[in-house]
Amino acid sequence: MKKKRILALLLAAAMVGSLATGCGSGGSGDGGSDGGNSSEATGKVYYLNFKPEQADQWVELAEQYTEETGVQVDVQTAASGTYESQLKSEMAKDEAPTMFQVNGPVGLATWKDYCYDLSDSAVYKDVSSDDYVLKEGDEVLGVAYVIETYGLIYNKALLNNYFEADWSTVKSIDDLNNFQALKAAAEEIQAHKDDLGVEGAFTSAGMDSSSDWRFKTHLANLPIYYEYKDRGISSTDAIEGTYLDNYKQIWDLYINNATCEPSMISSKTGDDATSEFALGEAVFYQNGTWAYNDIKGNEVADEDLGMLPIYIGVEGEENQGLCTGSENYWCVNKNASEEDIQATLDFMQWVVESDEGRDMLANEMGFVTPFTTFADYLPSNPLVQANEEYNEAGKTPVSWNFTTMPSENWKNNLGSALLEYAQGTGNWDAVVSAFVDGWATEYAAANE
């Protein structure tokens, strides 16, 4: 009996003991690394990256930095469309990201309480203009690190085949400078798709969450841009939707002259559209400079890549350029420890000033940056060069006004309405309502 009791006690002790050591070893491990860091008085960097296209390059860059300086840099990339949710849960942790991203003024409104004032930082001093930072009063809370451009990416080889065909009405790329010409070209290509050996004029207008932002956000920028321009404003609490008929025109053109039936688009993904374009199955593909990484190395040669402005049928659009702006702003978490903030600022400075960082950003990631340090580092990305050509030709770039869209929910509702309209299960009035009425209610809800 006594033996048994001792045995039971021993067992219990062993159980509790193992539990305690289990926790203990974890704790001491953490403590050890913390101790090591503080004795060297260096912090560490944790960057939550928004752009999955460049996920691998960021990890590589972080490793280079660690090798050079010994400072630990962790890079995590959120999967497409999950950045906000991942940021939300990561920020609640003890080991929160020290460096994160917001997508513009609306994104900043959610996170401004977490943003460190960057006005004394080296990165801010390197920015060429205040147009590329997010300010709240005198505080600089976000710094853009990439300027991007989007439009209608097209396949020059296929389009030339079209220009040369005897049934085509548009005969050169210079004539393709308004909506009427674009519509004629797209519809003729669609009608003669077998002659050209393509599946459709446009890639599938996928409304899967990996692709729907191309339409509910990027395409919707154009009617907003023209309305802002007419009214002379840069943001609004109530949109009027004066250019929604144009939005309908271009959306109709996309869905009716694509590689798939409009009823199929709900499950088409971003990858589907990219591969259709990269394999030469479609002539036009609405996307931006960032898509180059996914297109290159396939059927379409680099010299065959071009980008057209998205024409929606507005008077004087012959002078419209590509859509250029940024929705990628670096922020530093002000709740991080002082060493970590310093380490993060150092890392950011290294990224925009060192040769390795500049080479990686410009050549590997293909970014155009707003930093003055990048004068000798212009990316080889042909889509970026297309934009240069438009700027040199004196076309007016379309600014990115979608950063003033009132909320994610607004975009989602618009996307749903667009999809239902395309499928034939909804009508255009629902899109108008989501656009105009939705703007007012979402703006009110977000700013209450």
Binding site: V16, E84, A109, D113, Y114, S263, S266, S267, N412
Partner: protein, 280 residues
């Protein structure tokens, strides 16, 4: 010995208790507290009272997902239990290859929900593509897609429970019924079903709560598309919490309401079926 167990009870219970408190009680209480707060991350909450709960009531998508989930649960509970019971009856008749069939039927249950969701998405979209439709064409395509998926996954599991229930029926009861001249359908109605009532309790409980709590499969199969119309409750909570800036507290409030709803329904169901159980 009894005394010894009593004496050392705290020591033995402690590890589990600690894990239970850390992993369940603490987050649960924090969650209830957060449902009365406005917050961006869970560590910076500000108390605002009942506002979140009021917002849940006039969120049309929440109301939609409420009845959509209810309909889904009713459908799956009926189909899964009827199918599982039928298969269990068949596989206790001693036909050849019974064990292989049991294994095959049970196997889908071993695959994770996300994987299943994507696999079925490919399968169903592949079929629907012939008709120029996809699963996310309308909420009802998604609905039946989910029903098929969940049935395929859970029938095998419930079947095992029913099989053990059927095998536990004493052979003499059936024999006696046969001698008394009962037809097979009478035996089924008056002997087999009353005798497997405990299994029915368990299976309806499991399918009912599974139906309400379904998330992975929903996420992978339709992700709520189109227009968040194929969103079940759990996913509606998730998208409210993560998808809308400033609505984290509302998502949390929905989660609390969800918990209350599921517990109440499960308790009622348990009482109803329990009362029909017979003592052997």
């Amino acid at each position: 010995m009894q005394k010894a167990i009593k004496k050392y009870f705290p020591i033995f219970v402690l590890p589990t208790m600690i894990a239970f408190v850390i992993g369940f009680i603490a987050p649960f209480l924090l969650g209830i507290y957060l449902s009365f707060c406005k917050f961006t991350t869970v560590t910076d909450a500000e108390f605002i009272g009942l506002e979140n709960y009021l917002k849940t009531l006039d969120d049309p998508e929440f109301i939609h997902s409420l009845w959509y989930t209810a309909l889904f649960t009713i459908t799956t509970v009926i189909i899964i239990n009827v199918l599982a019971f039928a298969v269990a009856l068949l596989l206790t008749k001693g036909i050849r290859g019974t064990n292989i069939f049991r294994t095959v039927f049970f196997m889908p249950n071993l695959i994770g929900g996300i994987v299943l969701g994507y696999v079925w998405q490919l399968l169903l979209n592949g079929i629907l593509a012939n008709f120029d439709r996809t699963l996310t064409y309308s909420e009802w395509f998604g609905f039946w897609g989910l029903v098929i998926l969940v049935c395929w996954q859970q029938v095998g599991y419930m079947m095992i429970i029913y099989i053990s229930g059927i095998q536990n029926i004493p052979g003499e009861l059936i024999e006696a019924a046969k001698i008394d001249g009962a037809s097979p359908s009478q035996i089924l109605r008056n002997v087999t079903i009353p005798m497997v009532m405990p299994s029915i309790t368990i299976c309806t409980f499991l399918t009912l709560t599974n139906g309400f709590k379904l998330f992975d499969q929903n996420l992978a199969l339709t992700n709520g598309a189109p227009s968040r119309m194929s969103e079940l409750l759990a996913m509606n909570i998730y998208t409210t919490f993560y998808g809308r800036a400033g609505w984290e507290g509302v998502g949390q409030a929905k989660a609390v309401e969800f918990f209350i709803l599921v517990s109440v329904i499960a308790l009622i169901q348990n009482r109803l079926t329990r009362s029909k159980e017979v003592q052997q």
